[in-house]
Symmetry: C2
Subunit: 307 residues, 2 copies
């Protein structure tokens, strides 16, 4: 039997860093747990692990009835490690909407409306009076800067900022400098194939019985995708077909301009036009001030599709 | 628009006291919230409110799309105030299994595997550096003694004990003396009709598409129900029929002997025999060491019915 601390599928930086740091906290408190990941580490996370000299968590693609899991950064079954239905869920630390995970027994479930799971993990170090090592502080800071897009995301709260500033001070790191270096290291456009671009930071959602897919890539300039839009749209249609989605949306988020180009499969054009009250042309529409999938896109789609 | 702090239907002491105290904490922190109840206050809670001179929360039987709610002591829709599907859920403070509540946005959800919601509320006073008044300390202490059956329930943790002892010290109250007075004041057998006995502390659960009902009464001696068992069984069958339940279980919990007489409708005899590996005679079986519906009965039924 193993007890795993695990983030969501297609792990982003917060899912990896929150798993590593929360596992570290539990270990410091005497628990026998191990951080794992359920997918490939992205370029941004690779940069961070290298920067703070931390080994990547082991890849575990499926858990079994013998395993116990602590979920970080997600609480929806469709986003969790394969086999989650069999395993025992021990705890959940998250900052998303409350999803469909149910348990037979009472568990520790700590969900807070902050910008990053690692913000909550930092609070848990403090509440448990456990000192944060520089390595762990580096991971926590990086995850907060990543999830809040250096405090620019509307999901970012004062708590995220205060905690990030405290961690940066411990490390002697300049937040803006480091954040921009981190995001540049993570820019995915040139590294990935069009289909990988769509699924690199990707989640499925269930609404009224239908499944939709929502991917997001962050760029320093939305022009970065200009030359490959046709290939991206072809990949989007391919994924819709393969997975029998109602539709698929890709957000190309421009960090500096603070807006997102929303690209959508043919089957989702009408929903996007009605839900956001916009006109979609060539399967795309630019949404000013939209940076957060979780806070600005999913609630709008959810409201429209479940009304 | 109102913002309500509300416990579950058929409110027990924890649901009333956690609503009152958490509303008080939120008010101290500057929020405009109001504690409400969704059902009749039981005799034990009445004793407590009288003892600490606190007004009962207002009865609100239904919430609307204009209302915001903070759920305490439950996180299952079937146990919540009418209209919960319409209202906006702002927060959840609970100590039960993770149920079926879903939200569109991230919320504060604090669920801990402790014996009582009021234990968590006390921690939240401490985490927010808010002083606990004697009135609120009285409600918190009473709820902990009630939910943990004066520390006898297997759901009781060291945290519950430590916090109850701290509150008792603040109040200068002898825990055992006060607890026994409180439970005696709350003894329901002589006050209620048989059908009310079944539904006095009562919850519905959904398993594999079927609904079951599980009531619990606590007595100082299980003999208290000897003369009225036939009437209780008739009420049980009536409730099964009226509500189209798969079956209904009533736990008559003997606080001093630390066991429960489980009474069950005809339709549930086979499930109870198989799930608990016991023999049911005259629709009843005495279960040694079983005190907790949540921890010792629901998981057993859940495992059996969803296997």
């Amino acid at each position: 039997m193993s007890t795993y601390v695990v983030g969501h599928q297609n792990p982003d930086t917060d899912s990896i860093c929150a798993a590593l740091t929360y596992a570290n906290l539990k270990q410091e408190l005497g628990a026998d747990v191990e951080a794992i990941r359920v997918g490939k580490i992205n370029a941004e996370t690779e940069f961070i692990l290298d920067e703070f000299d931390v080994d990547e968590p082991e890849l575990v693609e499926e858990v079994t009835a013998d395993d116990q899991v602590i979920l970080v950064d997600h609480n929806e079954k469709s986003q969790a490690v394969e086999g989650i239905e069999e395993a025992e869920i021990l705890e959940i630390i998250d900052h998303h909407r409350i999803g469909d995970v149910e348990t037979g027994n009472p568990i520790y479930f700590r969900n807070e409306p902050v910008g990053c799971t690692s913000t909550i993990v930092t609070k848990l170090y403090q509440e448990n009076d456990v000192e944060i090592s520089d390595k762990m502080a580096g991971l926590l800071l990086s995850a907060i800067l990543s999830d809040t897009v250096i405090f620019r995301s509307p999901t970012c709260t004062e708590t995220d900022k205060e905690i990030a500033e405290m961690l940066a001070e411990q490390l002697g790191v300049d937040i803006k400098n480091y954040g921009v270096r981190m995001f540049k290291a993570g820019s995915v456009v040139k590294k990935l194939e069009p289909k990988e671009l769509v699924t690199n930071d990707y989640k499925e959602y269930q609404f009224a019985g239908d499944t939709i897919g929502v991917g997001q890539i962050e760029v320093m300039d939305v022009d970065e995708v200009d030359g490959i839009k046709d290939d991206i749209l072809a990949s989007i249609e391919e994924l819709v077909e393969e997975n029998d989605y109602k539709f698929l949306v890709l957000l190309v988020t421009d960090i500096l301009a603070e807006g997102s180009l929303l690209m959508v499969s043919d089957s989702g054009i009408e929903v996007v036009e009605n839900a956001f009250d916009v006109t979609v042309e060539n399967n795309e529409v630019y949404l000013d001030d939209v940076l957060s999938r979780k806070k600005q896109v999913i609630p709008v789609l959810s409201d429209y599709l479940t009304q």
